[in-house]
Symmetry: C2
Subunit: 196 residues, 2 copies
């Protein structure tokens, strides 16, 4: 049975994830966190040494969750179908959140690249893993003639990741599905993606 | 002849642009701005009502500068050559700054989308103008058979803008030209870009 302490810790992590997503880590103060989590300063510092430690834990958990998302969404009868399902699920995921918050790792990349080496490293790790995972699927899809073969799989994977990051940024900015829907459609055509 | 006041104002704007680029607007305090500009609080408030007004002026000036960059870089003998030159100049521009700061409007999009409607609107305006400007060139390139014609020009323009934003994010995160160089190469192939 979860203890009262572990429930509080969980609540702090969940609320902190939301607020970091919406307004960034650097711009979030301890007071913002206290207001969002409804906890006391003493309680917050009992569970985390400070904002930095809390943010590291939020990013680590978000990384695990994203790895799970990759595993769950890259499913299908063929490599092409796996990619197609991944594209669809990216849109579903962002739609569910009404395009609020965007991608925590894209946000962190932009706010931490020049100021917080530890956070920047966590963002790099995530993007590397995502690109490598997609590269395996694209490579398999190329072998099955379901994705164009004139560019290497890792280069196409990198393009897909960056384009999706740009698309999430614009969907979030416009609070609309349009930008992400359209770039995913463009990617399907440009990659010559086939599911069979 | 510029007055002492206008020189100070200019210096504040230039330094503020750098610091907003590096660490974001929300996370920059008045004290950060005073330290960066070497000016007094009295002097800063003489020229600007506060951080919000200063940031609005920084974004407005950056928009004009980017419009100038579009006009200067979209030059060439043919529409395809204009696009090719634009791609090259995007890389040169980011290289010159050693991949520090990234794109001020991409950064603003991510930090302001859910928190600062005025800044978010300025970012939307910039991306709309950029997409429309590229769309005209891509449309002309399609007519000249220098870009693939199976997707509408405005959809391809949107993809190019988002992909470049994602590429700038990754180049900044990795402090390396590689990600941006590779996605620009991928875009050339995928768009079937020809300069003649």
């Amino acid at each position: 049975m979860p203890t009262k302490g572990s429930i509080t810790r969980e609540k702090i992590l969940n609320e902190a994830t939301q607020i970091f997503n919406r307004q960034g880590i650097a711009a979030t103060t301890i007071n913002d966190l206290l207001a969002a989590t409804g906890t006391t300063k003493g309680n917050l510092y009992f569970h985390f040494k400070g904002k930095e430690e809390l943010a590291l834990e939020v990013l680590t958990r978000a990384h695990s969750k994203f790895r799970q998302f990759l595993n769950d969404s890259l499913q299908g009868e063929t490599p092409g179908a796996e990619l197609e399902n991944f594209f669809s699920q990216v849109l579903v995921k962002n739609h569910e959140r009404n395009f609020v918050g965007g991608c925590l790792f894209g946000n962190t990349a932009l706010e931490a690249s020049d100021t917080s080496p530890r956070f920047a490293q966590l963002a790099r790790d995530l993007f590397t893993e995502w690109t490598q995972r997609l590269s395996l699927t694209i490579d398999a899809a190329q072998a099955a003639d379901q994705v164009r073969r004139d560019l290497p799989a890792d280069q196409l994977a990198e393009l897909v990741v960056m384009t999706i990051e740009g698309g999430i940024m614009q969907a979030r900015l416009q609070k609309a599905a349009g930008p992400l829907t359209r770039i995913l459609a463009s990617l399907r055509t440009l990659l010559e993606l086939k599911v069979l």
